[in-house]
């Protein structure tokens, strides 16, 4: 692993108004939770980190992965993965092709197929490679989205309320699965959520979009 994810005086503005700002270092395997009401700029902050902030925004400050400054890199060159609230599986590709889309190039077909099959097997979805994503359950789709992100070998992972659409039981299960995976890969993680349970499970620092440290109510 290349090290932690550092936001160095990152400020996101819309016109003159500051939408979000943050100066923080997230160590490998650590989780930073960003909490705030909807519309408070959490998602825009994540967009700025991966380099996909809408053009109306201005972004200043630096984003570092270990010692690598990716502030000026295009989104695809940053190696920062992201999971959205909905899974954003590509509907025209099979489950296996979705995973293959994330795999970096440079391996033989057989090697790529093996990587895909192994990932599915570990997630308890062996034999799903040929399936149409539209036929999967919500929990299965969420898992495929995570696997796809991990297969692209990111240096950090951003989670944009990825659990909010799942029902309570599935949610705890999937959350545990995600954090076990990110820890196994030693990834620094930023989690955006408005659910205190998520924050509790993340067991890391908690901030609001303006970079102020928060304490969990009753926690």
């Amino acid at each position: 692993m290349t090290g932690g994810l550092t936001l160095d005086a990152l400020v996101l503005r819309l016109g003159a108004r500051v939408i979000a700002q943050m100066s923080v270092e997230v160590a490998p395997s650590a989780v930073l939770t960003v909490m705030g009401p909807s519309g408070s700029g959490k998602s825009s902050l994540l967009a700025a980190i991966i380099g996909a902030a809408p053009r109306a925004f201005t972004v200043s400050g630096r984003v570092l992965l270990g010692a690598r400054d990716v502030s000026d890199a295009a989104p695809h060159a940053r190696r920062i993965g992201i999971l959205f609230q909905d899974d954003v599986l590509f509907p025209h590709l099979s489950v296996g092709q979705n995973l293959g889309f994330g795999l970096p190039p440079g391996q033989s077909r057989a090697q790529r197929q093996t990587a895909i099959d192994t990932a599915l097997e570990r997630a308890g979805m062996a034999g799903f490679a040929g399936r149409d994503p539209a036929t999967l359950s919500g929990g299965q789709r969420a898992r495929v989205a995570l696997l796809r992100a991990l297969l692209s070998r990111p240096d950090a992972l951003l989670l944009d309320e990825p659990f909010s659409r799942l029902d309570a039981e599935l949610r705890a299960q999937f959350r545990a699965f995600v954090f076990s995976q990110t820890r196994a890969h030693g990834l620094p993680v930023i989690l955006v959520t408005h659910d205190p349970d998520d924050a509790r499970a993340a067991a890391g620092r908690i901030m609001d979009p303006m970079g102020r440290e928060l304490a969990l109510p009753g926690g």
Binding site: I50, S60, D72, A74, H92, G102, D132
Partner: protein, 578 residues
């Protein structure tokens, strides 16, 4: 923070594509206009006056001008009114759904084929009279009444309406989602307004803003249509546009000057009509606002209006479809004398005899259509991708340029373009014709593909980039395949536009490039209904094939992808449920 383009070699090239594309539309139109006007102004003042003198001396001038204005304005007003009435009073009914499904096939019918079909239908010896004779009318010979080519241009106007309503309907359906129509209508009706009144007062104002340019295109087209006017229009005198073609193709040089002068008059007429229309828009808008302030609900107007809309919808679609069936029947007809409603016998003689010619002509037509549409689709996709990647926004000016070839009358700039291509020594083969078709095909491909392309869910692109995919990979592997349906539909639209072109093929092809449309119009003067039927039918089969492919291929390719099929059902907008 800047975004590097990450080793994308063609980025700067791609960035220029929108500008180049607009130039491709703008330059031929401008150059053609100048080329056309040159002979009007001749080489000296004497020629200038001579051209306008000879035009003024033509006894039919006033009437031809009046015909152009009247048929154009009446056709536009009625087409727009019918379209809005259909949308306002029939939305969400089974009939509207049926009309909506018919829309693409109806649009694909070239103007010439529609006119020929209509002529077969409404002529005194046509199908309608035959169906009623002699049992209802007592006629054993066709009645001596002037229906086709009537001096008032009524048949022409009817023909124009049957073709322009489907176009405006399509443009309206494309614009409705941006007007928040459903919620506005729900509020209006909950306040007690009638459905049509609610539509006019609450939805029409924002809707019309989107419809304005298509309406202008309809007005300009209706005033200057050549092939429909040649088939259905008056002949004593013909409309100004048809008379220009007569002069243009007259052997003596003097008439070329007259033609150029008339083309200038035609251009001025169109501009004046557009300005007049623009003024009328303000009055109409003020009237709508006044009506909205009056508090009247007009709820009781709904039932009769709905009935009327149903009738008009049936007539418009019915005329087009029955006319085409008439074309088909004539092409297989043996002896078919008046007043028999059906031919005494059916045979394949016409098709066998003209088979080789038809096949060759259809091949040329398809080649031109595919060349022009292929180029148009490539340019449009590049434009839209550049717009997306570089955050360019298509401003109002760009939109006007896009509509320029649809609004500037073909009759005003194609003759000049023909002179220019000759002067440049361009070979007037299939490539030259295809290049000029591109000017007309491209706007329609853009209008067809643009909304779907822009509506494509940006999350897919972000997700792709976060997985390490370059913008190029996102385009080729995600956006393009996911937009397969809309892209193929846009190609089908382009093909249908190209197939329908008459003047560009005739003038730029120099008579050497025969397309189904130039053949059908040339044959229409001969009155042989069987062969006209065969060509008319082929003329509409080709675009229909395009739409069939656009419908079938995505269904086949994505037969195991429920998520994509849901998109197709939702109107191929490419948007996924979120």
């Amino acid at each position: 923070m800047k975004h590097g383009q990450g080793g994308l070699g063609g980025a700067s090239l791609l960035r220029q594509v929108p500008r180049v594309t607009l130039l491709l539309l703008f330059v031929p139109v401008l150059a053609g206009l100048l080329g056309t006007l040159a002979p009007a102004f001749g080489t000296g003042e004497a020629d200038w006056w001579a051209a306008f003198d000879s035009l003024a001396a033509w006894p039919g001038l006033r009437r031809a001008i009046a015909l152009s204005l009247a048929s154009g304005l009446v056709a536009t007003v009625l087409s727009l009114a019918i379209t809005l009435l259909l949308v306002a009073s029939l939305a969400d009914t089974a009939m509207f759904a049926a009309l909506r499904r018919l829309l693409s096939p109806l649009l694909a019918i070239p103007h010439a084929a529609a006119a020929l079909g209509l002529a077969f239908l409404i002529a005194p010896s046509g199908w309608i009279v035959r169906a009623l004779s002699p049992w209802a009318t007592g006629w054993t010979a066709p009645p001596d009444v002037l229906i086709l080519n009537d001096p008032w241009g009524a048949s022409l106007t009817l023909g124009l309406i049957t073709k322009e309503v489907p176009f405006l309907l399509l443009m309206t359906l494309a614009s409705l989602p941006q007007t928040d129509a459903a919620r506005r209508m729900a509020i209006a009706t909950s306040l007690g307004y009638g459905q049509v009144a609610g539509f006019v007062l609450c939805v029409l104002p924002p809707l019309y803003r989107q419809l304005r340019l298509p309406v202008y295109a309809v007005l300009a087209y209706a005033m200057t249509a050549v092939e429909m006017a040649m088939i259905l229009g008056p002949t004593l005198p013909p409309t100004l546009a048809v008379q220009i073609i007569h002069w243009m193709t007259d052997p003596s040089l003097a008439h070329r000057g007259t033609a150029a002068a008339a083309a200038l008059v035609q251009l001025v007429l169109v501009v004046a009509a557009l300005l007049g229309w623009h003024l009328a828009e303000r009055f109409a808008r003020a009237a709508v606002l006044r009506a909205a302030g009056s508090g009247r609900r007009w709820a009781r107007a709904d039932p009769p209006l709905r009935l009327f809309a149903v009738a008009v919808g049936f007539v418009v679609a019915g005329l087009l479809i029955t006319g085409l069936i008439g074309l088909a029947v004539w092409s297989f007809a043996g002896l078919w004398q008046f007043p028999a409603a059906l031919p005494a016998s059916l045979n394949l003689t016409t098709w066998m005899k003209s088979g080789p010619d038809l096949a060759r002509t259809a091949g040329v037509t398809a080649a031109i259509a595919l060349l022009a549409t292929g180029a148009a689709a490539g340019l449009v996709l590049a434009c839209l991708e550049a717009e997306h990647r570089f955050g360019l926004t298509a401003d109002q000016r760009a939109l006007w340029l896009l509509y320029l070839p649809l609004i500037v009358p073909q009759i005003a700039f194609l003759p000049g373009l023909q002179r220019l291509t000759l002067a440049l020594g361009a070979e007037n083969g299939v490539p030259a014709v295809a290049a000029v078709h591109l000017v007309f095909v491209l706007p329609y491909v853009f209008l067809s593909l643009g909304p779907a392309f822009r509506a494509w869910d940006g999350h897919f692109a972000v997700a792709g980039a976060a997985l390490g995919a370059t913008p190029a990979k996102v385009f080729w592997r995600l956006r393009l395949p996911m937009l397969l349906g809309p892209v193929l539909t846009a190609v089908a639209v382009g093909v249908s536009v190209s197939v329908a072109q008459y003047l560009p093929s005739l003038l730029i092809g120099g008579g050497r490039v025969e397309t189904l449309t130039t053949e059908a119009v040339a044959l229409s003067s001969g009155g042989n209904r069987r062969i006209i039927g065969a060509y008319g039918l082929m003329q509409m089969l080709l675009p229909s094939l395009g739409f069939a492919v656009a419908l079938a291929v995505p269904r086949l390719v994505f037969r195991h992808r429920a998520g994509m099929r849901a998109d197709l059902r939702a109107g191929s907008s490419g948007r996924t449920a979120r």
